[in-house]
Structures are given as C-alpha cells and as structure tokens.
Amino acid sequence: MAEFAGDALACIRAERLVFQGLSFTLAAGGALRLTGPNGSGKSSLLRVMAGFIRPAAGSLTWDGADVTKDREAHGARLAFIGHLDAAKPVLTVDESVRFWARLYGAEDPAATTEKALEAFDLLRLADFPVRLLSSGQRRRLALARLLAAPAKLWLLDEPTTGLDAASVARLETVIARHREAGGLVVLATHTDIALPEAETLALEDFAPEPAFADEETA
C-alpha cells in the first residue's frame, strides 16, 4: 500500500527557517489540507514534497523508502500544480494537454486528452489557442493535466485560484474519484473545498520560535 510520510521536516528558504518539526502521514486514498497565513510555508512544503527542494532536516518517505535518494522515481509518481499554469499561448488547448499525455506515456493520447478536457468542461474550447483563455479557463487547463498525466500523488498549490463555483465542484469530483482509486492528495488552500475525511496541517503550528525565545532557553 502506498504511504507517504514526512518526519520532523524543516525547510530553509533564502537563509530563513520557514518551518520545523513538521510530521505527517498520508495513506492511500488520504487527503491532507495545508492551511496557514501567507508566507507560512505551504508552497515550500509542497515543493519539498515534490523533491524540488531538499529538506534541511527530517526525512520524507514513500512506503518507508527515502524519496530524496531517488528523485526520478518519486517524480514519476507525483503531479505538481503550482501557481503557474505551464501553458504556451500559441498552442491550442487540445495540443497542450495532448503533449503531456504523450510525454507521460498514455496508451491513446487522443482519448486520454478528451477525457481530461471533458472532466474540466474544456471540450468546447479544445481548438482555441491558450492565449484567448480567461485566467479561470487557464487554471482548468492546468488541472486537466492531472488526468492527462496520471500520478499517484497529487500536490496542488492553491488549485482553486480563479475558479468559479461550478469548476470547484468539478475539481472536488475529480479529487474524490482519484482518492477512491487509492490516490493521495495534498492541497494548500485558503478557500473552502470539500475534502471528506481530510487531515488538516496548520503550517503556523510549525513556525520557528522567535529568536528571543532561543536566547531564553539557551
């Protein structure tokens, strides 16, 4: 069974300690919601989980094996949606999604693309160049890649930014289906998004203690 866990993680960005002593466990079908004020390290944690940043301390494991040792294998099982939509303005919606489907080795890229576009209500826009899309539509295009390039672990950084209520509902359905199939989801968000039985990790709980506290204990 897939189990993704972090133990006593710490992260340093630009010589500043962002969080420390952070632990979590996520089993197959599980979801983890990251909350916390701006700058509390939600994005940094997601980037650590994706293997882009090495944790300054602690360990990150998948089924008990250290993921920082084999970044390629870890990368193959995860999908990361950050703030950027990774969309090329001159490609059409269909071409953009199909590229990722082909790169991720889909058996039938055309069918996979169609399914992914349908799930986010983008079929009617399939032949539109990306530069004509609104920001919410671009966001949906980015999310459609989750289905075009299947991965076990989804790391979503503010996926609902710019989405209307109907699209948020679609995303909820897609996430629920992914979890039913044994997938894992980690999601950083400020907005309400239904994640039944999700655990919540409040990043402010792991903020480093203020400097003066260190002096007192020393």
Partner: protein
C-alpha cells in the same frame, strides 16, 4: 524514450513555427552582418575571399548565441520546466530533445544559408562543400555547449551577458577548426582531419552537455 523525445522536440518545433521569431532573428542577424562586411573592408574580391571563412564562422557563432537565452527560459518562466522534470523520462533526455529542436530551428538555417552568403563574399568554390560539412558538424556542438550555459544562467538577472561570457570561450575550438577546415579545403591541404576533430567536438558535447545542463536545471527549479 524515443516517444518522449519526439513529443518534446515536436512541441518545441511547433512553438518555434508558430512564433517564427527565433529562426528569423538568427537568420536576419547572420545575413545582415555578413552583408555589412563588404562595406566595411571594401569590395575587393581577393580580400573578401581571404577572410570569408572567418567572417562566416564568427557571424554564425554570434547568431547562434543570440537565440540561446530562450532555450529553457520560456519553460522556466511558465512552470513547464517543473512538469518536464517530473516526467517519467530522465531530465537529460528532455535537454537533448530541446537541444535537437533548437538546432533544427536555429542551427540548420545557418548551415543552409552559409554557402549562399559564401558566394556573396567570393568564397572559393573549392571551400563551399567543406563549409557546409563543417557547419553541419559545428553548429550542433554550438547548440549543445550553449545549452549548458543557458541552463546555468536561468533565473539570473542579465543572464544574457553572463551567458555569452560563459559560452564564448567554449566556442573557440569549434571556431578554430571550423575556419581551418575551410581554409585547408581551399588550399588543397585536405580538410578531412579538421572535419574529424569538429565531429569529435560535437560528439564530446553530445556526451557531456545533457548531463551538465540537466544538473543545472535541477538547481534552477529548486
């Protein structure tokens, strides 16, 4: 592996065709600069013929450097690079695919254009074939070496200046053997060995550049 290479190179080619600016920038720079030389050094055929190989190589080298900065920058800025790095293919292959597309859109046009401009500069016809061969061997090396520089300078402010400083010294061997191969052919000395060295340089870059550039890209997306 081959599928992934085709997918990435195919996407980059499509992007380049739709935008069209990269190829045009390189070609226009190449043509205009070469055209300026007869005005600068005078139209005497013997003078021009003497320096033609050098002019063509130096300008081709500068032209190919013009487009390097955008090699990874687009994917870096819009977040595609993160996805590419997570794809179930080695990042080295991603670099190789992108370099291939880059050479097809910016290197190959130089190879095609060089003999035409050679006529303009009264390049000895005996050197024309060698010129094409040398360019065909040398420009892939330029792209691959340039890929290392482009990956290293990602995210740096004024990366373009840094990129030229990093890459130009590494271009010099290609320049030396490229020019000397054409000169050798013109003087009937046999360009073979020099072309072989150029080919060797290209293979060396092919073996080294994907790894070096991939390592630099991993740093960039941290």
């Amino acid at each position: 592996m081959i599928r992934a290479l085709r997918a990435i190179a195919g996407r980059d080619l499509r992007l380049a065709l739709r935008l069209g600016s990269e190829t045009m920038t390189v070609l226009v720079f190449f043509v205009l600069t070469v055209i300026l030389f007869p005005f600068g050094v005078g139209p005497a055929p013997e003078t021009l013929a003497k320096i033609a190989p050098g002019i063509l190589w130096v300008t081709a080298l500068l032209a190919s450097m013009l487009s390097l900065e955008r090699l990874f920058a687009g994917d870096y800025e819009d977040g595609s690079l993160e996805w590419l790095s997570l794809a179930p293919v080695p990042l080295e292959l991603v670099v190789l695919s992108k370099a291939l597309a880059h050479w097809l859109t910016t290197g190959l046009p130089l190879v095609v254009m060089a003999p035409v401009l050679g006529v303009l500069l009264h390049l000895d016809p005996a050197g024309t074939l060698t010129m094409i061969a040398a360019m065909a061997l040398g420009t892939p090396a330029l792209t691959l070496i340039g890929a290392i520089g482009a990956a290293l300078t990602l995210g740096a402010r004024r990366g373009g200046v840094l990129l030229s400083l990093l890459v130009l010294p590494l271009y010099i061997p290609v320049l030396i053997f490229g020019v000397s191969a054409v000169d050798a052919a013109i003087f009937g000395l046999g360009a073979g060995p020099r072309l072989l060295i150029l080919g060797g340089l290209a293979l060396f870059a092919l073996a080294l550049a994907p790894f070096a550039a991939a390592a630099a890209l991993r740093q960039a997306i941290e």
